[in-house]
């Protein structure tokens, strides 16, 4: 099935072997793909990982249950809130603490804002992969508003570190409500503009329709999750099937499409932006008063056992698996990152397509490299 990697040159069949990355405009980070080409046609894609591997799992073994959460912000930096949420949930499962209602709402609000920010950035990045530069800058305009909201409340723009076991770290900033309202209004105006610029563009549709197809069975077998799997018709939204936080109390639809191509993945994410905005709209006027953090002990100790929590990040299912031996630090932590599994399907999806399709498909998977390498 595989031969050993030929890093340079041409293999025995006369196929060209090209290194895409670790520095390449299409890989959005330090992903390294060794692709085998027959002319313009891709015959094999082999990812080489580890350029940003920091062994976060090993580091977490020597960090306390309060500290390790923050290292997960550095994994999938575009959905750090949701990663933090997943870790906090796992610790809370062990501690058996009750989360105040206000904290739950804040967590969901922040999670959905993160999802919108992540999807909107992805929208720009995909358009750039396909050759349109302008959407990227338009995407940053809206993303900047979300970053400002985050900055005010959490003190940081990217790695927020806002979730703590038992709630959130600070209360909301007084401007939060006003700013989120302005954001919702902005999106109402601009989302149609986005559609006009990219979604209905004939070249864009030609470049993405039927490209990078993966069937539902294959998507499941490759462990794909998130919008990439939902575009193949796999119902896998953790928020719906195993609700956490207060997702069972808000109204939203799981966006499912059957086509399984790049365009479907695109449409799923564009729909998800709208769904996330509707969740924010439902919650922003109904933030309950009260504590934002439950009382917890200064030093957290989880009872001996295993704890697994699953959350839905912007890229898919994020799992935190904690093995505790009863000490102050986790005995073993495993992070199940969505990008890692999604990437493993790339070879299957792009065999036989053109180089341009490879770039489009890779863009549509929304890979974040630190999330894959950890």
């Amino acid at each position: 099935m595989y031969s050993t990697t030929e890093h340079i040159g041409v293999n025995e069949l006369g196929d060209m072997i090209i290194n895409v990355g670790p520095q390449h405009p299409a890989t959005h980070g330090v992903l390294h793909l060794v692709i085998t080409l027959n002319g313009e046609t891709v015959k094999k894609v082999e990812p080489h990982l580890g350029y940003i591997h920091r062994s976060i799992e090993k580091m977490c073994e020597s960090l306390s249950y309060r500290q390790f959460i923050y290292s997960t912000s550095r994994m999938d930096y575009l959905s750090s809130h949701i990663n933090n949420h997943g870790c906090a949930l796992a610790v809370e499962k062990g501690l058996q603490v009750e989360i105040p209602a206000r904290a739950e709402v804040i967590r969901v609000l922040m999670g959905e804002l993160t999802r919108v920010a992540s999807h909107i950035l992805w929208w720009g990045a995909l358009a750039m992969d396909i050759g349109a530069f302008t959407p990227f800058f338009h995407a940053f305009r809206e993303r900047e508003m979300i970053n400002e909201i985050m900055e005010e409340t959490c003190g940081a723009r990217l790695t927020m570190n806002y979730m703590v076991p038992g709630g959130v770290m600070f209360d909301l900033h007084p401007n939060f409500h006003k700013r989120v309202k302005a954001l919702l209004q902005q999106f109402k105006d601009k989302l149609d503009e986005y559609d006009e610029l990219v979604t209905y563009n004939t070249i864009f549709i030609n470049r993405t329709k039927g490209v990078g197809f993966i069937s539902a069975e294959d998507a499941i077998s490759y462990g794909m999750s998130g919008p990439s799997a939902r575009a193949s018709g796999v119902s896998c939204d953790i928020r719906k099937i195993y609700p956490y936080g207060m997702y069972d109390k808000v109204q939203f639809d799981e966006v499912l499409l059957q086509e399984g191509d790049t365009y479907a993945r695109y449409l799923v994410r564009m729909q998800e932006i709208r769904q996330s905005l509707s969740i924010i709209e439902q919650l922003i006027d109904n933030i309950p008063e009260g504590d934002f953090q439950a009382k917890t002990k200064a030093v957290l100790k989880l009872p001996k056992g295993e704890y697994y929590s699953r959350v839905e990040t912007a890229r898919g299912e994020f799992g935190v698996y904690i093995v505790s031996e009863g000490g102050m630090t986790p005995y073993r932590i495993k992070f199940r990152s969505p990008g890692f599994s999604n990437l493993s399907a790339l070879d299957h999806m792009t065999r036989g397509s053109k180089i341009g399709d490879l770039v489009a498909t890779m863009g549509s998977l929304d890979l974040v490299i630190p999330d894959i390498d950890r």
Partner: protein
């Protein structure tokens, strides 16, 4: 099927031991029976565990434990399959022809824990650079004087 029912059904599949507690059903299987059980879990119409969402290993200093988190997209069951491995000669059958996602996950476990997956098509280092064969950073006795921060 409810949890008890499912546990009973699973008990009939072979020689397994169940671990009490935990959010999901935890079952232990000997590494000899492991492959047959996994195939059954995937193919059984009543179960249909088609989604391997997490595959990892834990080093318990006396032994290694492989942990497979399985989910059924049809019935929404979740189970955890574990198998103890010898720490000196960790070997287990691959599952990457049953769940293709396992290919990358097994390569990751191979380099981080040194577990050898038999019949894996392409068991090479995935994340670590060349020259790290045989060093298994996520094992508890791994020491790196230069880069490790101890608290």
């Amino acid at each position: 099927m409810e949890r008890e029912e499912l546990q009973q059904y699973l008990g009939g599949l072979g020689s397994l031991t169940f671990e009490e507690g935990g959010e999901w059903i935890n079952l232990f299987v000997e590494s000899g029976d492991f492959r047959a059980l996994m195939e059954q879990l995937r193919r059984d119409e009543q179960l249909g565990f088609d989604y391997l969402f997490c595959l990892t290993c834990v080093d318990f200093k006396t032994h290694l434990t492989m942990v497979y988190h399985l989910s059924s997209t049809r019935y929404r069951y979740n189970i955890v399959v574990k198998s103890k491995l010898d720490r000196q000669q960790p070997e287990i059958e691959t599952v990457c022809d049953i769940w293709r996602t396992a290919e990358f996950h097994e390569r990751e476990v191979y380099e981080l824990f040194g577990v050898k997956f038999m019949n894996h098509p392409d068991l090479r280092l995935l994340i670590l650079p060349e020259g790290w064969e045989g060093k298994n950073p996520l094992r508890k006795d791994f020491e790196d004087e230069v880069n490790m921060i101890k608290l």
